[in-house]
């Protein structure tokens, strides 16, 4: 069936069964392949997108449930080739990236945190990251980079 979605501010019409995972529609129909699907079971966080500003695992979200909501993917953080968002820039500056598969989900998870809570504590940041699997980096630089943006030193925790 035909479903109307709002993705990254644009109205998109897709043809999919309503139970199709949103992640598959984003990746296979709209070619927004920044959203990853590393486990497809909701345990890794790589498919995290925003639904009306809240983080959601797009692999477990039926596309029918996303109709009428604002879907935001990693591609929206610095649209086109515009400047990196502060979070993206911090990850780049910290040399945090390795294989890169987990970062789209991590960045969307942190973006959701900041949308919900503009001044999170260090513990909030760690909690937001704790549902995201990264197999390469051992997390330390990701945490440091996230804290540098989300919890500026002058504000403290």
């Amino acid at each position: 069936m035909t479903i109307e979605l709002t993705v990254n501010g644009e109205t998109r019409t897709v043809t999919a069964a309503p139970l199709t995972p949103l992640a598959e529609v984003l990746r296979e129909e709209l070619y927004l392949t920044g959203t990853k699907q590393a486990c497809g079971e909701g345990f890794c966080g790589s498919c995290t997108v925003l639904l009306d500003d809240a983080a959601a695992p797009s692999c477990l979200t039926p596309v029918g449930m996303a109709a009428g909501k604002a879907v935001r993917t990693i591609e929206s953080l610095a649209p086109g080739m515009s400047e990196l968002s502060p979070l993206q820039q911090a990850m780049k500056d910290a040399d945090a990236v390795q294989c890169g598969m987990c970062f789209p989900g991590i960045l969307m998870g942190l973006t959701a945190l900041l949308a919900r809570q503009p001044e999170p504590t260090e513990d909030d940041v760690r909690t937001a990251l704790s549902g995201h699997l990264c197999r390469c980096t051992g997390y330390a630089r990701i945490v440091d980079a996230a804290l540098s943006v989300c919890v500026p030193a002058e504000r403290g925790v």
Binding site: I74, D93, D95, Q98, M101, F103, R126, L129, T137, G138
Partner: protein, 806 residues
């Protein structure tokens, strides 16, 4: 052509080397723009699915695809008849599809391509497969039992790709080391004999990008875009399995979403290739996470008995061991990996007499394979726990024992190779300094947990092996580097390797364009793994760079009316020594060359020099009997063990790592943090268990517990520079070794905290609780190992002893 240090030292362009340069691929990865193989699609592409065996062992009675072929959207079905070849690393024993028999749960039987992935899966499920079950050997003990059914009754007929090993029954490969007179040393009356037994579990690589491939069949050749660490092995392995010429296969590799060894063999590419040819359409195959959990080439489970004769004052006069490594249903990497026990389990320390047997054992389980610091992780766990047990038996200080016994300059390793330089001993001192410089982790007075520390050493190596490189100096002054190197996330092809090549040519690292791997463009390469990329690809790139540099300087010499040897190449310019005004940009020289003598292109290659050699007669069945470039590590772990729950918290973790020379120190820091955390998962909670049906119980990330942010600490690291290496600029591999001694450090810390004998990893909470309470698992019992070392050897023990150097 080979790199010459003397020549390189003449030039001064230090800017690129030793600098924390950023990754050129970071920005697109952070934007979600990077296209991995799983993101790749083609017009008209079909989707593949495999029908896998749902029993662990059996005789195939019938495979009927008639009904499946008639299902909607199905465009091709292929099976055993389409792939006549066998592949392997040491022995060619592995068919693409189960042929005649099924040897593990999950073994592919047929492959289907259809218009949608759902249609492909439905058709695969509709294939009629009748299998008459056979008794499955799910453990090495079962496979080695007297009269056990042979998994490969035709093992004698398999092609040996490497000769010299003993094989027989369910022993796929056996390697031995014999040196000196162990019988006499064990019989001495002034020694204490310490025996230790260990087991270790499997570990799944769990790269976030599963194994995946998009195949097309174009102009009579296969084009495979794939997520691999080894483009050339995929090319050659696919050709073997399909019975075609290797030149009919082209492998291209975009960014790879993690490897860790799991992509070190040909895997799903031949299925996609066959389906692409059969259908005439592009075909994509992507493993589901469940398929990855059930069939990944996990780090092998292992069983080890190690025994040492040590004098009262701590000299190791003899050491013997029996090592069993579970290769699963096919040999895969294990015949190669048996070689490593000589250097890992029997590494680190000066030894008197030595006898070691390492056996790869067939079982009816999914084949195992390479995983970062293959074999070394559990061998080092066993060795370092054994070392602590020796210290306990003799009442010796653990650190002092290590200081006294670690290999130093001129010492002889287990296979008789002579080690060059004192490295481990000063590294131990650096660890003490690192500990003293770090803050003590305070716990509340009423914390109630048991604290312990483990300080361990480890020996690893650079898997030096063949690499080829081409360097073009373009008329705009940029440089193009063409290799079959793959970017799996470690950063070697986006940081260290262009930094090294830039240093050779006096340009900035960002001026070096690195071509993504393509076997049609680049010469042979042994693959990204074994800590070899920076060394082997870097050295080949250096050699190619020097070749191009010579050609550039010849042209510049004409233009500047100077002798080539009087020219300097730095900062993007060629200048005359002593006359800095006399200079030209590299771009101007390259453009001039293009017009007059043709574009400048250099080629270079590298392989191991074989500079380290074993004593003759010492090692049998080994693919590497001495380490050209050893790498050493010292790790220290502090833990708190909860006696109520068995949970182990890592409080602090410290690393001193031998890097030779740090090309990009910050990038190495990233490898250390990531490698240690993978090691913590291996040591503590990444557990794979096998059900009675032969299926792994852990089928996803819900039950397979990877380290999460809350499980880990920030690692303190100290890079030790200056140890000998013939790698480019003295570099060693830095990506593999961080995981090597982690399980050892954790296990020694837990033993220290609990006062119990730690014999098994992973140290899951139930297992640790068991150690503290009435251990339900009991001590490790390796009843399938014969009490006498020689009775565990297929080879002729008397002949081995007779040939052994004294």
């Amino acid at each position: 052509m080979c790199a010459h240090n003397e020549e390189r030292d003449e030039q001064m362009s230090p800017a690129a080397v030793g600098a924390d340069l950023p990754r050129r691929d970071a920005e697109d990865k952070l934007r979600g723009r990077t296209r991995y193989t799983v993101d790749s699609s083609r017009p008209g592409m079909l989707y593949a699915a495999l029908r896998r065996s749902d029993v662990a062992a059996g005789r195939i009675v019938r495979v009927d695809t008639t009904q499946a072929r008639a299902m909607p959207g199905v465009r091709a079905i292929v099976g055993a008849v389409d792939a006549p070849g066998l592949y392997g690393v040491g022995i060619a024993d592995h068919p693409l599809f189960a042929t005649g028999v099924v040897r593990y749960h999950g073994e592919p039987i047929v492959a289907v391509a259809a218009e949608t992935v759902e249609q492909a899966r439905a058709a695969a499920a509709a294939v009629v497969v009748e299998v008459e079950p056979l008794e499955a050997h799910l453990t090495m003990a079962a496979a080695l039992a007297p009269e056990a059914r042979e998994l490969h009754p035709d093992w004698r007929d398999y092609e040996e790709l490497v000769e010299g090993a003993q094989r027989g029954g369910n022993v796929a490969w056996e390697a031995t080391v014999v040196r000196g007179d162990a019988d006499a040393a064990f019989a001495r009356d002034d020694v204490v004999i310490v025996t230790s037994e260990f087991t270790s579990g499997r570990q799944n690589q769990a790269a976030l990008e599963p194994r995946a491939c998009v195949a097309t069949y174009e102009d009579g050749r296969f084009v495979l875009e794939t997520s691999t660490q080894v483009p050339w092995a995929v090319r050659n392995g696919t050709a073997r399995l399909l019975g075609i010429s290797p030149s009919a296969v082209r492998v291209v590799v975009p960014a790879v979403g993690g490897g860790f060894g799991g992509k070190f063999e040909v895997s799903s590419e031949p299925f996609a290739a066959l389906l692409a040819r059969a259908s005439g359409r592009p075909v994509r195959i992507v493993n589901s996470r469940q398929e990855e959990m059930l069939t990944a080439l996990c780090r092998e489970n292992a069983e080890i008995r190690i025994r040492s004769a040590v004098t009262r004052d701590g000299e190791i006069v003899a050491r013997e061991a029996v090592v069993l490594m579970d290769c699963g249903a096919y040999g895969g990497e294990q015949p190669f990996l048996t070689t490593m026990t000589a250097h890992t389990l029997f590494g680190n320390y000066r030894l008197g007499a030595v006898r070691l047997v390492s056996r790869a054992v067939y079982t009816n389980t999914a084949p195992t394979g390479a995983f970062r610091a293959c074999n070394g992780t559990y061998s080092t766990f066993a060795l370092e726990r054994h070392t602590d047990e020796i210290c306990a038996a003799l009442g010796l200080d653990r650190l002092e024992f290590r200081r006294r016994n670690v290999l130093g300059d001129g010492d002889i390793g287990s296979t008789g190779q002579v080690f060059d330089g004192d490295v481990l001993r000063p590294m131990l001192d650096r660890m003490v300094a690192l500990r003293e410089s770090s803050a003590v982790v305070e716990l509340p007075a009423d914390d109630g947990r048991l604290r312990g520390t483990g300080t361990v050493v480890g020996t690893w190596f650079v898997f030096v092996g063949p690499s080829a490189a081409t360097v073009n100096i373009n008329a705009d002054g940029s440089v193009t580097l063409i290799t079959a190197g793959v970017e799996i996330g470690s950063g070697s092809t986006v940081q260290a390797i262009p930094q090294i090549v830039a240093d050779t040519l006096g340009v900035r690292a960002e001026d070096v364009v690195v071509k993504a791997a393509d076997t049609d463009a680049a010469g042979y390469d042994a693959g990204v793994g074994g800590g070899r990329s920076t060394v082997s690809l870097g050295a080949a790139g250096t050699a190619a760079g020097l070749d191009a540099r010579r050609k550039l300087l010849d042209v510049a010499a004409d233009m500047l009316e100077a002798a080539p040897e009087d020219l300097l190449l730095a900062d993007g310019h060629v200048s005359v020594v002593g006359d800095p005004d006399q200079r030209l940009t590299i771009a101007a020289v390259a453009a001039h060359a293009q017009d007059r003598v043709g574009p400048i292109s250099g080629s270079g290659s590298f392989t191991g020099r074989g500079s380290a050699t074993a004593l003759p007669g010492c090692a049998a069945g080994h693919m590497i009997d001495a380490l050209d470039i050893p790498i050493f590590a010292v790790h220290e772990c502090e833990v708190a063990v909860d006696p109520e729950t068995g949970h182990v918290e890592v409080l602090a973790y410290r690393v001193v790592q031998d890097v030779g020379r740090a090309i990009n120190p910050r990038a190495i820091g990233g490898q250390i943090q990531g490698g240690v955390v993978q090691g913590l998962g291996y040591a503590l909670h990444e557990e794979i268990t096998i059900g009675e049906d032969g299926q792994f119980r852990q089928r996803g990330f819900e039950s397979y517990r990877l380290p999460l942010l809350r499980d880990v600490v920030a690692v303190q690291a100290d890079l030790y520079e200056g140890a000998p290496s013939y790698g480019p600029l003295g570099a060693k591999g830095a990506g593999e070794v961080p995981i090597l001694p982690v399980a050892a450090a954790v296990a020694c810390a837990v033993a220290d905290a609990t006062g119990r004998r730690v014999q098994r990893i992973p140290l899951t909470p139930p297992r640790v609780l068991g150690l503290l309470l009435d251990d339900p698992e009991g001590p490790v019992e390796l009843g399938h190992m014969a009490p006498q070392w020689g009775d565990n050897v297929l080879g002729d023990v008397e002949a081995l002893v007779a040939a052994a150097p004294r």
